[in-house]
Subunit: 330 residues, 2 copies
């Protein structure tokens, strides 16, 4: 018996960040978060359940992968198999449209695509909510790559109550996210490990306690397309997460000189009237956000900075979607 | 009637930072702090009370100064005059041994020297504690430049209970502070204004609530000359202050690309066995601390960095001290 499906999903950029869990195993987050899916980047994943396989196999960007990455994929497949009451192993082939090593986290799009493809291959008829819950258990932010456009992940308190929904579709606001890759990158601590350190910072509880205020401001700014309000809360929220990171034990530092150059430049450009703001995930690269109307001016200024390697342009992306599977042998 | 005295004081570098007040007018701080006086840098101040003057006058590094700076000096002189039950105006001449515009805050050494010179000129016989209290009302951190060596400022709750005392003399530990001036400095918000913003950060209350733990760790590490423990708590405390700054409304950003370069370099050197750590005040320059035994190795590495302008070397300094006044006409 062979049953196959393929799906794709976009990564997302969080405007209100996810950092730290109530429950590490289930990835129930300490606070809710809001993000935008990133059109222009995607992970495409084929899941082929095959009774002739003696264990799950993972081929990532053409290369067989084992160890922790495979175990994490198998754990998500286990949840899907459990729902289908099945034990068949699967071959998973996954490709990112963006080169690895660019500092763009692929786990959100990867686990969203894996979940949709895996559930479809086994003919499970899951709602968006159920897919978001399942994707969350593989990678927290993957829950936000299931729905389309601008997405809010409600923290919830258990597996059932922790999932993401769309606040507005991708056509709601023509925001642009320039992902600016900075030079001189060091190795960084992965976010799964990082989430577990959040509670060691004297600041995490205060960051979490303040989250509802930020979520409300951000949600309202998105719905009203109010860029100045969005800019202020997005930057504050990014700084709150990095504050927790830099005061954890051990501390986590993700910023490089180039990161700081972009932060200061973006703030100066905004003071001079440009609609632009920044947000930074668990890495040195900077996401520079602006409305479409200011995109060309922002791009021009970005290219004049000293410490940048390259710039990727993304716009609001849709939900995870099914693809025609290419059937192929192992 | 003319009565004159002259005094000098060192600036200090805080290991546990002062940021935010319980009482802005009296500069009663939100939390206690610990610092080291910086031998190698000093402010020298002469105060000459002169009944022929029609108002206070301030000459700073040879230039007459008016406006806010003069008003702040007059406010400290008023407190001294009140204690002496006198209303005579004064000519204040103050010189820094370090060039202004280097990003080294001079208000701590300036108000410590002003307080000691002013009180001495009026023959007030004040204890170190009273001098520290008085200096504090001019500039909070000036309270720490009155006693010698390694100093703790007890937050207290009112004017009487908020003052600094020496934990250990300058000879206790041969720590070195390399003040590394980074290039590309922007204008920054002064610390008096900054302190008033501290409460607007969602993180300030948590930072303050955690202060006793940090003070105890730092005090103990200093007394035991335990550099690894000192390094960890000093860097965490510096990051806590900058976390509050960067999440205030409006946010305060003091770091430049060169700041980030030094932070990352210092951490890497320490991982490779060097005893070294960093701390950063309300500006982009980095104070790089190490025991004397590691000073040459640290200096060599610092000079190899890309974004630095110059390096000043300081060692633990003594208390504020009296000078022979040079009597001169206005």
């Amino acid at each position: 018996m062979i049953s196959t499906a393929a799906a794709a999903a976009h990564p997302n950029i969080a405007f209100i960040k996810y950092w730290g869990n109530q429950d590490d195993a289930l990835r129930i987050p300490a606070n809710g978060s809001i993000s935008m899916n990133l059109d222009g980047l995607e992970t495409r994943t084929t899941v082929q359940f095959d009774t002739s396989l003696e264990g799950d196999r993972l081929i990532l960007n053409g290369e067989p992968v084992q160890g922790d990455a495979l175990a994490r994929v198998s754990a998500t497949l286990d949840r899907i198999r459990q729902l289908a009451d099945l034990q068949t192993s699967a071959l998973v082939r996954s490709e990112n449209s963006f080169p690895t090593g660019t500092g763009i986290a692929s786990s959100a799009s990867a686990f969203a695509a894996l979940t949709l493809a895996g559930a479809t291959a086994l003919d499970l008829c899951l709602s968006e909510r159920e897919l978001s819950q399942l994707a969350r258990t593989g990678s927290g932010s993957a829950s936000r790559s299931i729905p389309g456009g601008f997405v809010e992940w409600q923290a919830g308190t258990d597996h059932e109550s922790s999932f993401a929904t769309s606040i507005a579709g991708p056509e709601h606001w023509d925001l642009v996210d320039y992902i600016v890759l900075v030079s001189g990158q060091h190795k960084v601590v992965g976010s799964t490990q990082g989430h577990q350190l959040a509670g060691t910072s004297p600041l995490q509880a205060a960051r979490v306690a303040d989250a509802d205020r930020r979520l409300e401001l951000c949600r309202k700014a998105l719905l009203e397309r109010d860029f100045p309000v969005l800019a202020e809360i997005v930057e504050q929220d990014s700084n709150l997460m990095h504050s927790v990171m830099m005061t954890s034990r051990p501390p986590l530092y993700y910023w490089e000189p180039g990161t700081m150059e972009i932060i200061n430049a973006v703030r100066e450009w905004r003071e001079h009237g440009l609609q632009v703001c920044f947000t930074i995930d668990a890495g040195p690269n900077v996401h520079v956000l602006c409305p479409g109307s200011d995109a060309e001016a922002v791009k021009r200024r970005l290219t004049s900075l000293a410490n940048i390697k390259s710039i990727l342009k993304c716009t609001p992306g849709g939900p995870a979607w099914l693809l025609e599977p290419e059937i192929s042998g192992v």
